[in-house]
Symmetry: C2
Subunit: 335 residues, 2 copies
């Protein structure tokens, strides 16, 4: 019975990609859930009609699409807008309107492939942070040779204190439990050696704080452990780092796998042979990165997201709502 | 006419691997160059004799090996020794003796697969830093889809100031010119967005300083640019970052390619098909990471280095000597 607001104007391929994502989601979601398409209603309606007309399963799909709520938002935040300017200057953007729905009790989650900085700023400003937090964090899921691993922060915070790293550990732990289904998530602290005295100043202090944080803290992990989804001491579910390191690593990972696949294709490996591994490494199926710490659910998708990726963002939002993730974060942070 | 000192006791596989590396290098080096094997002479001699006896090209190889200088060093620094303890407590280790040879004018370069922390400490203490530097930096070469890229610092410095990042840019630029043969190396600053205002505090300040540093500074680069060896503005030769980020990235890269190759092998891609790409991604052929900034040449090899990898470290040391890298660094740093 969740109500998911989708930023129909967000992303490089909007409104076509978000509308297509909504139709993909409509095929999978039960009738009890409501999709709220937020944007310039005329443009959204036009896209919707065009895509419905072209769909093979037009009749059943039209019935599902008839349950969409179209919510008008005349302004559009461009990908190049500065976050602060966007929020103050465009109070009726699809992003601001979509997030406000949650604050007003009219929606349960917000999903966007639009301007990430603006989404972070608007989510934090409108929904506010849970007690005990100074910053929200972006959680991303890294495919590994074993199970996927949550890495956070992936770019919301560039200069992080030890206390903020501990907050990220708490946020990531709840995310791994609620969204990835890990019973007692193993939390590793990203560093340059497994010994507690290895790392920069914030990491060394965070290591000590994490020992007494009541989490399943397994100590430092290194860059080499992430692709394995495990360190010498066992599997890892959550990797904690500052947003500078996390963002560099995320973008590196997103780029290195296609680079290698490209080299292999040139060397004569066929697309069929690459298929399963390319699929395993495909970020799109993890469906966006939640902005953890806000009172509510805000899912950030890549600006270049495909309809499939945005649909998975919608499903991630649904899981966050159904699992009670935001409430569990509040409980985890309670002193 | 270079004299290269090799730490015969350094690394997980010493003395077998360094001795084997010396024999591999002897096959490639001209007779004018001298290899100095530093370690417990009896153990080194025993290894050398055993490996020579087993070599197919025993006769020519024995002639080359006869020109090796065996230099006795009774102490051995273990991989687990603390750097400071190792340097103070074991003044006659192969590492200390090997590096002192340079300070005494009896050698031109030092190569080791031993304890990295101890090598950094001993190199800095004995050889000293060039004027204008506060810290040395470890430069590593990342294979990319295009040309290899120098990434530094890769772990010598965890908390870096903006001025130190600029020093790394100068060091990396000389390295790219002298060792990789780039005429006017393009230097990128690793950040989380290409705009100058993106990044953590040190990176934002370093960006401004680099604009006036007299280098071919091409602005910020992102994690995604490294595997391509290029950003939107063209090819990249040098990527500058703090040693925490660089070390995490290096270890991640070293781990992710084998992980993907393993997944592909399981999916039925044959070893022959993977061959060329595995070779292209093989770090061993880049032969160790120089500790840049010391007055002299100190090449750091992985503790697990194969003979081939250590041999490439020896060749990298030779190139550094022949190109006059240390002198060029001094000139680059001159005000």
């Amino acid at each position: 019975m969740a109500r998911i607001a989708l930023d129909a104007m967000g992303g490089d391929l909007a409104p076509a990609a978000p509308v297509a994502a909504a139709l993909l989601a409509a095929r999978e979601l039960g009738a009890g859930h409501t999709l709220q398409l937020v944007g310039r209603t005329a443009a959204v309606r036009e896209q919707l009609d065009a895509q419905l007309a072209a769909a093979a399963d037009r009749d059943t799909l039209s019935a599902a699409a008839a349950r969409f709520e179209l919510i008008d938002a005349p302004d559009v935040i461009e990908m190049t807008d500065k976050p602060s300017v966007a929020i103050r200057g465009k109070p009726n953007s699809s992003m601001a309107v979509g997030i406000r729905l949650q604050a007003e009790g009219k929606s349960d989650a917000f999903v966007s492939a639009g301007n990430t900085g603006a989404q972070m700023a608007a989510s934090t400003f409108v929904l506010r942070l849970h007690e005990g937090l100074t910053r929200p964090a972006i959680a991303t899921v890294f495919p590994t040779a074993r199970q996927p691993v949550v890495v956070l922060d992936a770019g919301a915070n560039v200069d992080c204190s030890a206390k903020e790293l501990v907050q990220f550990a708490r946020l990531g732990s709840v995310y791994a439990r609620d969204i990835l289904g890990r019973a007692d998530p193993a939390v590793g602290l990203l560093s340059i050696g497994e010994e507690p005295e290895k790392g920069n100043a914030a990491v060394k202090e965070a290591h000590q704080l994490l020992l007494g944080a009541g989490l399943n803290f397994i100590g430092n992990v290194e860059g080499r452990d992430i692709p394995h989804g495990a360190c010498d001491r066992g599997p890892v579910d959550v990797v904690v780092c500052d947003g500078f390191t996390g963002n560099v690593l995320l973008k590196f990972y997103e780029s290195v796998a296609p680079m290698l696949f490209g080299m292999l294709a040139k060397a004569g490996v066929t697309r069929e042979q690459l298929g399963a591994v390319v699929h395993a490494m495909d970020y799109a199926k993890y469906g966006g990165a939640p902005l953890l710490g806000v009172k509510g659910v805000s899912i950030i998708c890549h600006g270049k997201s495909s309809p499939e990726a945005i649909k998975n963002g919608i499903l991630a939002g649904l899981r966050a709502v159904e699992s009670g993730m935001s409430r569990h974060i509040e409980e985890q942070l309670a002193p």
